[in-house]
């Protein structure tokens, strides 16, 4: 079945002709509300800028802040609101809706009914991504039109308008695919509301961080990691109201840096490319899961690819930023902390279920690292090795040579800690059959890892004495005992499984 037909079916399910007309009307009302809000605020803000300007011109010594009250027009402010609305809808609400709907379909069993139709997994995935938030997309039609009109009637160049629209569309699609993956990943059918809240919180936080990065000349190179950062970069690159609102009356200094402005110009392109690459990899994972729900979300090669892409995305900006940022061991640890959740997610969701693992154990065959039924140990260790290689190749001359004995010890400890992670993934997947038990185990392992990270920070900070010393000693014992105990329990489970 063609993808076009699948999308058409879901689009009609999301909003039939009559409903579509109603939502387009709501969209017009929303746009009117944005214009009215802008018409209310803009004159007040313009007057405030005029007053500030007058105050500083009258002051002694005279100082002229970079303020242009004429930027505060109703249309320009409404355009800012429209962009914010589009970003919120596309990057947070739409993926949350997809996650909620798919989780609910899994729980109700309707997803199985869809799987019995001739729709291909790709058609089904595309249909869900396009069709589920169809009403939200219709609601966004007015703000999108307002954004285009603003490009004609305000100093915002048409090229920037097009860039922002492309960033929004591609970013929305990629975010919705992530929402789809989140809903498909858990073994049991999770609650739709829970999945939606999780996706909204995760993507909302990422959008907030990326947006903040775009406004900071040291961090701007990382703002492409989320389309919200790219949208912010597109709008910041232009001398308009958006920049005035983000950098304020006094913060225009950084925009005199050619390096910063140049990076801002590159961010949208990098973001679209990243969204496309991550979207495609995630879409393949979602299709695989839709086709064979008994498999883990990621195949081992997919997990490694995704991790490598994420690692590359995280490290590559270092090339551009290395003269601005003080790259030392701390930066490496900070980057590794960002990568840890990625490693946990891809490692956990490439670990087989108990049933698949038990079948493999009973078959007695030695499985390759990439087999779906194989534990994820080798794949996770491969990812960790690749991450270390990335850091070593790209940054070694900046930090490796300056490490002292404690920092080297901390690095070795961190590596050993990272190596123990797949032991927990496999145990959580195969030992516990209920969601509550898995969460309890996850929280316990999370607490253990937190203690280990604190101990690592103490060791790196050369503070190993008194209470800190006792804490580090206990953490070191736990660092050995907990993975050994888990591995031993896994062995017992294996023996029992073979005996059954």
């Amino acid at each position: 079945m063609s993808i076009r037909n699948a999308i058409s079916a879901f689009a009609h399910r999301g909003a039939r002709r009559g409903t579509a007309a109603t939502f387009l009307l709501y969209s017009a009302l929303l746009t009117t509300a944005l214009l009215l809000l802008a018409a209310w605020i803009a004159p007040e803000a313009r007057a405030a800028d005029v007053e500030t300007l007058g105050y500083w011109l009258r002051s002694s010594p005279k100082y002229e802040p970079a303020l242009d009250p004429s930027l505060w027009t109703t249309l320009a402010l409404a355009d800012v609101f429209a962009c914010f609305t589009l970003g919120l809808a596309g990057f947070v609400l739409a993926p949350a809706m997809v996650a909620a709907a798919v989780a609910n379909e899994r729980r109700a069993g309707t997803l199985d009914q869809l799987r019995t139709t001739p729709m291909s997994p790709l058609g089904l995935a595309c249909g869900l991504v396009v069709g589920v938030p169809a009403r939200l997309y219709l609601l966004c039609a007015g703000p999108a039109l307002l954004h285009v009109v603003a490009a004609f009637a305000t100093p915002l160049p048409m090229a920037s308008c097009l860039q922002s629209l492309v960033v929004i569309v591609v970013g929305t699609a990629a975010s919705c695919v992530i929402g789809l993956c989140v809903a498909l990943a858990p073994r049991q059918e999770s609650g739709g509301t829970f999945a939606a809240l999780g996706v909204a919180a995760l993507l909302g936080l990422a959008a907030f961080l990326a947006g903040a990065f775009a406004g900071d000349r040291h961090m701007v190179a990382w703002s492409y990691l989320h389309p919200a950062g790219a949208l912010d970069a597109v709008m910041l690159a232009q001398k308009g109201l958006w920049r005035r609102m983000v950098v304020g009356a006094w913060g225009g200094g950084s925009l005199e840096s050619y390096r910063y402005v140049g990076t801002l110009a590159l961010v949208p392109f990098a973001s679209v490319a990243a969204s496309l690459v991550f979207g495609v990899v995630s879409l393949r994972a979602a299709c695989r899961k839709l086709e064979s729900p008994q498999l883990p979300l990621f195949s081992k090669p997919q997990a490694v690819t995704l991790f490598v892409l994420a690692a590359a995305a995280m490290v590559t900006p270092m090339w551009g930023a290395r003269t601005d940022v003080d790259i030392d061991g701390t930066a490496v640890y900070a980057l590794s902390m960002f990568m840890l959740p990625v490693l946990v997610v891809v490692g956990l969701f490439s670990t087989p279920t108990f049933e698949a693992w038990a079948v493999a154990v009973r078959r007695g065959q030695r499985l390759g690292w990439s087999a779906d039924d194989a534990s994820a140990h080798r794949a996770v260790w491969m990812m960790e090795g690749l991450w270390s290689a990335f850091l070593f190749v790209l940054l070694s001359r900046h930090w490796m040579h300056s490490m002292n004995g404690d920092e080297t010890l901390a690095l070795v400890w961190a590596a050993a800690l990272a190596m123990s992670l797949p032991v927990y993934f496999l145990f959580a997947s195969t030992k516990y059959s209920t969601v509550a038990a898995r969460w309890a185990f996850g929280v316990a392992v999370g607490a253990h890892l937190l203690c280990q990270v604190i101990a690592l920070a103490i060791v790196r900070g050369h503070e190993v004495r008194g209470f800190s010393g006792t804490f580090v000693t206990l953490a070191a014992i736990a660092g050995v005992a907990v993975p050994v105990w888990t591995a031993w329990r896994q062995r017992v489970l294996r023996v029992r499984t073979l005996a059954r």
Partner: protein, 308 residues
């Protein structure tokens, strides 16, 4: 139309949920899959609906290999799962339209078929209501209508009558008989045996993942059948008839005054003989009926032989 050859399914590598299933269902017939909970009925239907791939063996639907031509098989199969859910916020028309589009039924045919199915399943009056407002029986009929949107050749129905009231069951039964008359092959799983009486042409009894007995009801329901006979007066004469009837009458019990349950070996001819003998001896009969349907008898006998 449907052929399973040595099909097995194991979820954990130790126990087979379905073991060595051999099954053939002809076009225009209804095959009843009966058995207790956990017997493997749903797993079998899920394999036939291509939702689960068998661990071993092959399934062919209308000549197509279910493992190789998923799309072709899905176009030929309509599957109604147990406890299925509908999209509550949609109207029946929208619901059928969505699945029609999902099966790529063209616009004209889709509209015509939606009207016809709503008419056939007595849902025309509710075409504008949301699914949430439909009764359980109507939802069941709408689910069945959905499985017919793409004009399948095979229908797989998993416990379609569970939780339906008697009236709704009657309507469902009538609908299934109409579909059978149209030439569809239907596999219906149920553990409510009276629902299948007078409906199924063949029966398969599953127990612990194995198909322990299968065939046309007439050919496998040849063993003992229990009849209920109500005798008005002259009970002593009836008792004498029972004593003289011979070995085909395997036993009788007087469950209440004048009301007997008699176990007969053989089919309808034997009970006709017994009734004739009773009447000739002057016994007056007010009721002659099988205590259970043929399908129930087959199931009971199969279960008993398994225990033995």
């Amino acid at each position: 139309m449907i052929a399973c050859d040595a099909v097995s399914l194991s979820y954990d590598g130790v126990r087979d949920a379905v073991s060595d299933l051999q099954l053939t269902v002809a076009a225009g017939s209804i095959f009843a899959l009966v058995g207790p909970n956990g017997a493997g009925k749903t797993s079998t239907l899920r394999m036939l609906a291509t939702l689960t791939q068998p661990s071993r063996g092959t399934i062919r639907i209308d000549g197509l290999d279910a493992a190789r031509d998923l799309e072709g098989v899905r176009r030929r199969v309509g599957y109604l799962p147990d406890n299925f859910a509908l999209y509550d916020q949609m109207t029946p028309v929208d619901y059928l339209d969505f699945f029609g589009r999902a099966y790529e039924v063209d616009d004209t045919t889709r509209k015509r078929r939606i009207d016809a199915l709503l008419e056939e399943f007595d849902l025309t009056q509710k075409r504008g209501s949301t699914v949430r407002a439909l009764s359980r029986g109507m939802r069941q009929r709408l689910g069945l209508a959905k499985t017919l949107m793409h004009d399948p050749k095979v229908l797989l129905l998993d416990e379609p009558a569970s939780a339906l009231d008697p009236g709704a069951r009657m309507k469902l039964k009538e609908a299934l008989l109409r579909l059978k008359a149209r030439g569809l092959s239907i596999i219906i799983s149920s553990h409510i045996l009276p629902d299948l009486a007078g409906l199924a042409d063949a029966v398969g009894i599953m127990e612990g993942g194995r198909l322990i007995r299968a065939g046309a009801i007439d050919t496998i329901a040849t063993a003992r059948v229990t009849y209920v006979l109500c005798v008005r007066g002259a009970v002593d004469k009836a008792l004498r008839v029972f004593a003289d009837f011979g070995p085909r009458l395997r036993g009788q019990r007087e469950v209440s005054p004048g009301r007997f349950e008699v176990d007969l070996d053989g089919g309808a001819d034997v009970v006709a003989e017994l009734v004739e003998a009773l009447v000739l001896r002057g016994a007056r009969l007010s009721e002659v009926a099988p205590r259970e349907s043929a399908i129930e008898a087959v199931y009971r006998q199969s279960a008993a032989s398994e225990v033995a």
